[in-house]
């Protein structure tokens, strides 16, 4: 079962919502009751619910954003477009819609590191990154990303020189932010597809870097 559906306020020591014996939790019972009611009342079609789950479980995720970033690494004109009109540039690769209607891309450089948060809820660019991880939605990250971003980054194993400026983007409106990480050294001549394999979800939130090609298994390097 799931030990990590922790409360927003922080990591739970014990977990009240999933039962080791496989019995239904309180939340499972409550949601099942609600679904039955809404179907009976004719407000929802259960097949549509399945289609929504299927979309976010297997079709929309951070591989989409990785493709956008990899394209921006190999195609200067695309990168320029992405930084000027991210909604259109991302849409040209087929990624659009809910929670990504208005996109802005921000690029990391040797002088500036960007990171994204939503202090007020959990706004996140779904079409390019999928649904947000639990930590992104939780108080430890949302509270401290704006006051102590270096401390937060250290918890992700990210250490930046003191001289590097951190830019924090608080998603307070319907604008959704995508961080464009720096292209790793040692990737000259890599294909777009190979480059995309280096682009992690966290590197597009700003809590990580793109993978170092030397960290990959030899057989996956070109």
């Amino acid at each position: 079962m799931a030990p990590h559906s922790s409360p927003i306020g922080g990591a739970a020591q014990t977990h009240a919502h999933d039962h080791e014996d496989g019995g239904l939790s309180d939340m499972a019972i409550r949601v099942r009751a609600l679904e039955s009611l809404l179907i009976e009342k004719g407000y929802v079609d259960p097949a549509a619910l399945d289609a929504i789950v299927e979309t976010y479980e297997s079709k929309i995720g951070p591989r989409n954003g990785a493709r956008v970033v990899a394209r921006s690494w190999v195609d200067p004109a695309y990168r320029k477009w992405l930084l000027e009109d991210a909604t259109a540039a991302i849409g040209s690769l087929g990624y659009s819609g809910r929670q990504g209607e208005h996109m802005v891309a921000v690029e990391n450089t040797p002088e500036v590191h960007n990171m994204v948060v939503c202090t007020l809820c959990s706004c996140y660019p779904w079409p390019v990154l999928g649904l947000p991880p639990v930590w992104y939605k939780s108080a430890p990250y949302r509270s401290r990303a704006v006051i102590d971003p270096r401390g937060v980054l250290s918890e992700f194993g990210v250490s930046l020189p003191p001289s590097m400026k951190i830019r924090v983007w608080d998603s307070t409106a319907e604008i959704r932010y995508l961080v464009v990480p720096m292209r790793p050294d040692g990737t000259e001549g890599w294909s777009e597809e190979q480059l995309a394999s280096l682009v992690t979800r966290d590197s597009m939130i700003g809590t990580g870097f793109a993978l170092d090609p030397r960290s990959l298994a030899p057989e996956s390097a070109p």
Binding site: S5, L34, S36, V134, V146, R167, D170
Partner: protein, 221 residues
């Protein structure tokens, strides 16, 4: 509202802990809670700002001790009751005890992919010129509405600089109350870490907030 959702700058929650190889969902019910929220949203009985307000107006203890999909579910239940779509006793029993409210037809399975890919754009046509320009020094107003707002507490009263003009967007403070979209200019305003949090400590960072025009005033020199 100054609720538990407005977390920026709070302390004491401990470290941000990432879960290795985190699954998209942690339980079957989370999938259904997400899908029910999106499918009910498609009926158009409320808007996203009303949804956010339903969640943030949970009691702060309830908000912080609930997981995120629990908050979604509790928000959805509140919206159903407030909107006259269901009664509390129906939610408790999981069956209909009263007639349904007439609504649009439910979101069909075949329409899901298209609806999600289209989303709901929030930009609107520009009826009047923007009050501020890129580079203007502005101050976020010291506002504490007991209702939905998207100006975080940590920015209120603080001085920043307009860095980008996003366009004209639906104003959530009005939209959450059912008062219409009241679109306004939306700006990206950049605040220095020292302005927000004081000059002591490591403040080599800036924070950008997307702020509607009525959250801002011209900063006096």
């Amino acid at each position: 509202m100054n609720g538990a959702q407005d977390l920026g700058g709070m302390m004491g929650f401990g470290p941000a802990l990432a879960e290795p190889d985190e699954p998209v969902f942690h339980a079957e019910w989370e999938k259904r809670a997400l899908a029910l929220t999106l499918a009910m949203g498609a009926l158009g009985e409320w808007n996203i700002d009303m949804s956010r307000h339903a969640r943030e107006s949970l009691h702060p203890v309830d908000y912080l001790s609930s997981s995120y999909y629990e908050v979604w579910l509790k928000g959805l239940e509140k919206l159903l009751i407030a909107g006259g779509l269901a009664r509390a006793e129906e939610l408790a029993e999981g069956r209909a005890l009263a007639p349904s409210k007439p609504t649009k037809p439910p979101l069909a399975a075949g329409a899901v992919v298209k609806a999600l890919a289209e989303g709901t754009p929030y930009d609107r046509s520009q009826a009047s010129p923007a009050r501020f320009s890129v580079g203007d020094d502005v101050r976020a107003l010291n506002l504490h509405p007991p209702r939905h707002t998207r100006l975080p507490r940590y920015a209120r009263g603080r001085r920043g600089r307009v860095e980008k003009i996003h366009g004209v967007f639906v104003f959530p403070d009005a939209n959450a109350r059912g008062l219409g979209e009241s679109p306004q200019w939306l700006y990206s305003v950049r605040f220095s870490g020292a302005e927000l949090w004081g000059a002591d400590g490591d403040r080599n960072h800036d924070v950008s907030v997307d702020a509607w025009e009525s959250y801002l005033e011209e900063a006096k020199a």
